[in-house]
Symmetry: C2
C-alpha cells in the first residue's frame, strides 16, 4: 500500500492521465492550477482537494477602468536635483516606468518638496501639468531638492515582473483598492460570484490580498526598488484619511519615502510608521476576514499565499488571526522559509512549495541530473528545519507534464514525499527535544519571526548573507527559537525560559538596534540579565551605537569592540588565539562571510580567532578578531564576525549557544558528533531522526538523550530513524 496524502501537485487540462499516474506515484491528494494553466473539467476526479488561485485586487480590468480613482497609490521620491540658481524644475517621472506609475496630480496636497541638504520642507513649488514637472522657487543654490509625489499604480507590479520576465502577451492587469467604497463592495460581491462559479474548488488560494510588497520599476522596465516587507504600496488616500481621523495626526510622504530608503525593515521605524503598520494590518485583516467568511459559507477553505500581496497580513502579526484563514502556502527556499511557514499560528495547516518549479528553465532536454540535484539540495536544506517543526503539506508548482519527462526526477520526488510523510508522522504532534532556548533580539521581534535580514524574498545579498546564516543555522538546530524586540525587553524583561540572546546585524540597522542602545534602560536590562548568568551572542556589529568612547554599547559583555578610528592611540595586546569549546569541531578556516573589519578584543576576553593581514602580519597589525568568548559577571558573551550558513558554522553557533548558556556538559544529548550530520529527538514518540546533510557517506557518534554514544554510518543524504 502506497502512503498517501499531504502532497499537492499542479495540473492542467492537457495532462489529465499523466496527472493521475504521478498523483499515484507521489501519493498526492490535492491538485492546483498554475499561472497560465486551466484546471481540467473533471478536476475533482484527480484528487481529494482542488486548489484554485484567486486575486482580490486584480484580474478585472473592466472594473479598474470604471474606477480609476480607486487605483492603488504609492509615495515615490524623485531624483535628487541640485539647484543651480533659485529656481529649478524636477520631473518626478525621471527613471520611473511610465507603464507602472503616473503622478497623481489629484493628490498634490500630499506631495512634498524637500531640501535634502537641510532636510527641511520647501513650501514654494507648483505642479506644472503641461510639462509634467514640479517648479520650485526660492531654492538655495547648491542645495539638493527632491519631490516626494503620490503616484497611481497603473499595472500590478508582480504581474509586470512576470510579464516582462516571461515575455507574456496577455492583458496587463490593473489593480483596485478595497479601501475605497465602491471597490470595498465589489470585492465582496465578486468573492461570492466566484464561489458560485467554482463549485469544484475546495481551497481558495488567495494569491493576492490587498497590498503588494513594494516593487517599483525603472524607465527600462527593470526592477528599481524591491522590499518584500515594504508598505510602499499601501498608501491609499482613503486609508491615509481614515488614519488621520483615528490617530489625530496625518502621515507625511516622508514617513514612507524616508530619504529614498522607503522605511524598509532595516530602518528603525518610528512611532508614526508603527502606527501605520498597525492600522493597515487591522484594515487588511478586516477586509480579508470578510472575504474568508464568504469562502467558508460556501464550504471552501481559504489559503493565503505568503508571497505577493501580503502586506498588512503578517502571519506573526496581532491581527492575522482575525482573517480566519485555514492555511498558508509559501515557497521553500531553505530552512528559514520552512520555519517561517511552519511556525505560523492560527491556521489549520501550512504548506510548502518545493523547488525546482517545473518550468522550462530547468526541465529541458539533457538537464535531468541538474534537476534532481536541485531537488536534493532543496530537500536537504529544508529537511533539517522540517524535523524541528514540519510543514503540514508539501507540493510543487509549474507544469507537471515537464517533470513527467524526467523519470529519475519523478522517482526521487516519490521518495521525498514518503520521507516528508514520515517526518510529519513522527514530528507532527509535539516539539522535539531542545537543549536550550535562544532569542533573536532586534527592533521587530515576533512580527518578523524568521524574517530578519531579507530584502527581496529569499534572494541573497552580499550585505546580509553573513547574518542570514544565523537563522538558517537555527532553523535546523536542536534549540527552541524565539524572536523578541527591544520594546519587549523594555516592557517586561526576558522570559524565564530564555538562555541565550543573539543580536546580529550591521550598525544602526533595526536588526542590531541603533539608537535603542543609547537607552540606558535597555543597556542595563540586557547587561544585568547576562551578568546574572545568561548568554549573549553578538554577530557583526551587535549593540553598535558610537557613544562615550565605545562603539558597541555592550562591549563589556561581548569582550570586543570595533576600532572606528578614535582609539588607534590605545594599544591592543589581546592578540593570541586560544583553543576553546566553541571551536572544537572546526576543521580548516572558519567562514565568516563578509566578516567584520577592525574588531579588537578587550583585556580579559578570550580570542578564539584572529586574522593578521598578509601585508602586516603581526608587526604592525593588531589583527582583526573574528571570534571571541568573554566571561561577564556570572554570564557569558560571544562575538562572531559573521556566520553564513554551512554545517560547520551551524555547529559553531550551536557550541556558542551551549557555552554562553553554561551548558557545555549538556550538548551531547540527542546529538550527532559529525557536524555534517544532525540529530532530532521526539520525546513523545521516543524516536530519533539522524540525518546526513552531505552528499557523501558519513560516520558519526550518535548520543542518545541519556548521553550514551554509539558509532553509526549514514549513507549520502540519509534520514535514519532510530527507536529510543
Amino acid at each position: 500500500m502506497k502512503a498517501k496524502g499531504k502532497v499537492t501537485i499542479p495540473t492542467d487540462e492537457s495532462f489529465v492521465e499523466g496527472t493521475k499516474r504521478i498523483a499515484a506515484l507521489w501519493g498526492a491528494d490535492a491538485v492546483r492550477d498554475c499561472d497560465g494553466t486551466v484546471l481540467p473539467a473533471n478536476v475533482a476526479e484527480l484528487a481529494e482537494k482542488v486548489y484554485n488561485t484567486y486575486f482580490i485586487v486584480r484580474g478585472d480590468n473592466a472594473w479598474a477602468d470604471k474606477h480609476p480613482e480607486e487605483a492603488h497609490r504609492t509615495f515615490l521620491m524623485s531624483e535628487r536635483v541640485v539647484a543651480e540658481g533659485d529656481t529649478l524644475e524636477i520631473d518626478p517621472m525621471q527613471r520611473y516606468f511610465a507603464q507602472q506609475i503616473a503622478p497623481d496630480a489629484g493628490e498634490l496636497a500630499r506631495w512634498e518638496v524637500i531640501d535634502r541638504t537641510t532636510g527641511e520642507l520647501h513650501a514654494r513649488w507648483q505642479w506644472v501639468a503641461e510639462k509634467g514637472v514640479v517648479r520650485i522657487e526660492g531654492a538655495v543654490p547648491m542645495h539638493e531638492y527632491t519631490v516626494s509625489f503620490m503616484a497611481k499604480i497603473l499595472w500590478h507590479p508582480v504581474q509586470i515582473y512576470n510579464y516582462l520576465t516571461n515575455n507574456w502577451t496577455c492583458e496587463k492587469q490593473k489593480a483596485y483598492d478595497p479601501a475605497f467604497p465602491a471597490t470595498a463592495e465589489y470585492v465582496k460581491r465578486h468573492m461570492q460570484e466566484w464561489c458560485d462559479a467554482h463549485p469544484e474548488t475546495n481551497v481558495v488560494r488567495f494569491t493576492t490580498f490587498l497590498y503588494q510588497f513594494t516593487l517599483i520599476f525603472n524607465e527600462k522596465g527593470k526592477e528599481k526598488y524591491v522590499d518584500w516587507f515594504g508598505y510602499g504600496l499601501s498608501t491609499s488616500p482613503a486609508l491615509l484619511d481614515a488614519f488621520e481621523k483615528e490617530y489625530g495626526y496625518a502621515l507625511r510622504a516622508e514617513d514612507f519615502v524616508d530619504g529614498g530608503c522607503y522605511a524598509n525593515p532595516f530602518r528603525l521605524p518610528g512611532k508614526r510608521f508603527r502606527d501605520w503598520m498597525d492600522f493597515v494590518q487591522r484594515k487588511v485583516s478586516s477586509v480579508v476576514g470578510e472575504l474568508v467568511d464568504i469562502v467558508h459559507k460556501n464550504g471552501k477553505e481559504a489559503m493565503m499565499f505568503l508571497g505577493d500581496d501580503w502586506i498588512g497580513a503578517e502571519p506573526y502579526g496581532k491581527y492575522f488571526k482575525d482573517m480566519h484563514l485555514d492555511a498558508v502556502v509559501g515557497s521553500v527556499g531553505g530552512g528559514v522559509t520552512v520555519r517561517m511557514l511552519s511556525e505560523i499560528p492560527h491556521v489549520k495547516y501550512t504548506e510548502g512549495r518545493f523547488l525546482p518549479y517545473f518550468f522550462p528553465d530547468t526541465f529541458f532536454d539533457g538537464n535531468e541530473d541538474n534537476a534532481v540535484a536541485e531537488l536534493n539540495r532543496n530537500w536537504v536544506t529544508a529537511r533539517r528545519a522540517l524535523l524541528r517543526k514540519p510543514l503540514d503539506r508539501m507540493g510543487f508548482g509549474g507544469y507537471l507534464s515537464l517533470a513527467a519527462k524526467f523519470p529519475k526526477f519523478v522517482d526521487r520526488v516519490a521518495e521525498i514525499c514518503d520521507e516528508f510523510r514520515a517526518i510529519t508522522a513522527a514530528a507532527g504532534k509535539a516539539r522535539p527535544y531542545c537543549g536550550l532556548t535562544v532569542a533573536i533580539l532586534n527592533e521587530w521581534g515576533t512580527i518578523r519571526s524568521w524574517m530578519s535580514h531579507m530584502v527581496a524574498h529569499e534572494l541573497w545579498y552580499q550585505q546580509v548573507y553573513s547574518y542570514q546564516g544565523v537563522l538558517e543555522a537555527l532553523s535546523g538546530l536542536a534549540v527552541n527559537v524565539k524572536f523578541i524586540s527591544f520594546d519587549d525587553v523594555r516592557t517586561h524583561g526576558f522570559d524565564e525560559d530564555i538562555d541565550v540572546v543573539i543580536n546580529v546585524g550591521d550598525a544602526y540597522t533595526a536588526y542590531s538596534g541603533g539608537k535603542n542602545w543609547a537607552d540606558e534602560k535597555l543597556v542595563s536590562a540586557v547587561r544585568g540579565w547576562v551578568r546574572e548568568g545568561h548568554g549573549f551572542i553578538g554577530i557583526g556589529e551587535p549593540t553598535a551605537y558610537a557613544q562615550g568612547g565605545r562603539y558597541f554599547a555592550l562591549a563589556d559583555v561581548l569582550g570586543v569592540d570595533k576600532e572606528v578610528g578614535f582609539t588607534l592611540s590605545t594599544d591592543k595586546y589581546n592578540l593570541d588565539k586560544h583553543a576553546h569549546f566553541i571551536t572544537e569541531d572546526v576543521r580548516g578556516e572558519i567562514d565568516y562571510g563578509e566578516g567584520m573589519k577592525n574588531i579588537y578584543a578587550l583585556d580579559g576576553a578570550e580570542v578564539l580567532d584572529i586574522v593578521f593581514s598578509d601585508r602586516f602580519k603581526r608587526r604592525y597589525s593588531v589583527g582583526e578578531v573574528k571570534l571571541a568568548a568573554n566571561e561577564c559577571g556570572a554570564g557569558r558573551g560571544v562575538y562572531i564576525a559573521g556566520i553564513p550558513y554551512s554545517p560547520q558554522n551551524a555547529r559553531l553557533l550551536l557550541r556558542s549557544m551551549f557555552w554562553a548558556a553554561h551548558r557545555e556538559d549538556e550538548m551531547k544529548k540527542a546529538f550527532s558528533s559529525n557536524p555534517l550530520t544532525e540529530c532530532t529527538y521526539y520525546p513523545e514518540t521516543g524516536k530519533y531522526a539522524l540525518i546526513n546533510n552531505s552528499t557523501d557517506k558519513q560516520t558519526t557518534t550518535f548520543y542518545d538523550i541519556a548521553g550514551k554514544g554509539a558509532k553509526i554510518a549514514l549513507a549520502p543524504g540519509e534520514t535514519r530513524w532510530i527507536e529510543g
Copy 2:
C-alpha cells in the same frame, strides 16, 4: 676638491680620529652628541658646528625632588567598572604603571566620576586614600562608571620608553613644569648656566620643550596609549587655572579624557579643546622664546627637535614664530616627513636625520648589505620629496664607530651626501614647476600640514596606511600642496589657485570631517566650487555623514555612495568597468590597501574599477566600486577606495588630479612616462631632475616643459640632471 657642508654626523670621545676621516669623506660640517655619548674635549676641531642636546624639563632630579608639586600632570580615565549594586569602588591605578604616574589627591576637585552608560557626571563619590580607591555611592546598578583622575607624572615618558627598551640602568629622570612659578625661574637660570658651561656648543638642540606628546604605560611597563599629537601631558593645574582666568570658563577632565579616546587628532575637537590648544601654544612659545633669547645672547643657535616634547610648539601653528628658533631637526621616515620638516616656516634651516640609525640592531657583523639596502630605501623615498622642497641639511644619528666598520655603507653615504648637496644646490632657491595646486581638506588644515593620519610618529597602522599613502604620494609629485580646514572654507571659501581638493579618511573622523558635513553652508560651498569647474577627490569615506538617505554628503559630486544597509532595496546597475585617463598607466591590480567595502556607483558615474566577491561573482553581488570618476556640473569628482603609497598609486593619484582639474592635456610637461620614474623641473635654473625610484634599470619617455618627448634609460636608483 670634495664638496662639503650641509651634513651632520654623530661623534663621541672614543672616536675622534675616525670622525675626522668620515667627516672628510662625507663632507660633514657639523658634529652632534647622541644619547649615551659624550662629545670629545676638542670637539670644535672636528667640524665647523657643534650640536649639543638640551632638555628644558628634565635632567635635574634634585630640582624635581625639591619641587614635587611642580611635576607634570595628566588626566587619565580608570577602567570601566560595572556597578553591581548602588555602591562600587574603582582603583584608578588599575592597568597603569605605578613608576610612571600616581593619582594626585591634591587635585581632587578636578576629578570626575562619570556614568558611562548615560554619559552623565556622578556627584556622590569620595577618594579613600588608605585603599587608593574611589568609592561611588548612589550608583545605578548595571551602569558602567569611570573615574577621570589627575595624575602626577613621576618619570619622563620618553625616557621610560628608552630605558625599558634598551635596558638602561641610569637615573630615572623626573620632569618639572615651567608653568609653575619656581620652575619658570629655574629653567631660565639653568639655560644661562648651561650656556656658560658649554662654550664649544654652536647649536643648542632642544630635545625637549615643555610638554611631551601623550605616552602612557600599562602595569607591565608596556605602551598603553600613544598619541604623537596628544595634549594629554599639558594639563598643568597652573595652566588650567590660568586658562579659566583668561577664558572665563574651566575645562573639565572629560575635555581631555573624551571617553577614553583622549581627544586625539582623529576626533573632532570642539571649541573648548581648540581654545586649550591655542592657550598652550601661546604659553609654550612664550617660555621657549625666552630661553631661545638667552641662547642667542650667548651667541648660539637654537634648534628644535620635532619629536618628543613638542606639544604646543606646532611648527605650522600661529605662535611658532614667537619662539625665534633658528632651525628644526627631525627624523626622516619617508617623503611625508621630509616635507613636514622642509616646509616649516620662520626658521633659517631645517635638517633631517636619515635612516638607519647607527645602532647595534642594524650594524652587526654580516649585516652590511641590509644596512646599505635600508639606507637606499630611505634615500629613495626621501629623495622625491627633497626634489620638491629640500631640507637644508641632512645628518645621521647613533654611534659613528659602528657605521665606520661597514666600508660599502660609508661609501654609499658619501654618494648620497653629494646627491643631497646637488639637490639643494639646484632646488634650493625657488619652487619647482607644479602642474596644479591641490588642497587637503580636513578639520585641522594648516596646523597639521603633512601630519594627517598619524598616531605614533611615523609608525604604520592598519587603519591608516591606506590614507597616509595620499600624503606620501603627494610629497614627491609635481603639484603644489596646501592644507585647508573646513573653517577655512566656511570663512573665506577656496583660494584662487586651488584646482583640486582631496578629502580622505574614515567616516566621522576629523580627517573626513564628520558633522562638518551636516553643515549646509560647507556642503553648498564645496559643491558649488566643484560644479563651477574644479576637482574633488574623495578617498575612503569622504564627506561621510549619514543623513537624509545618503551616507556621503557629496555623493552627487563623488558619483558614489556607501551602502550601510538602508538602501539594499534599491537596485544598483552601474557595474561595468570602463577604461579611463586615470587608469592608463595601471599594470595589474590596483592596490587599495584596506580598501572600502560596500561602495556603489550612482547612475551617471563612470566606474573605473569594481570588485565582485569570489563567492558571488556578478550573480548576487552588486560589486564593490573601488575607483570611479564623475562629471558634476562643470567640475569633476573622483572616488578612490584607498591608496597606500606605491609608484603606481602615486601615478594614479596624479592622473586623478589632472583629470579632476580638466588638465589632462597638461600632464605631460616636465614629466616622465614610466611610473617608476619621476621628473622635477626648476624653471629658475632650467634644470630637470629625472629619478628612478626602482632598483632596476628603467626606460622612460622624458617630456620637457614644452611637452617634447625623448626616450631615456636610467640606471637603478639614478638621479639624472638634464639641462633645459
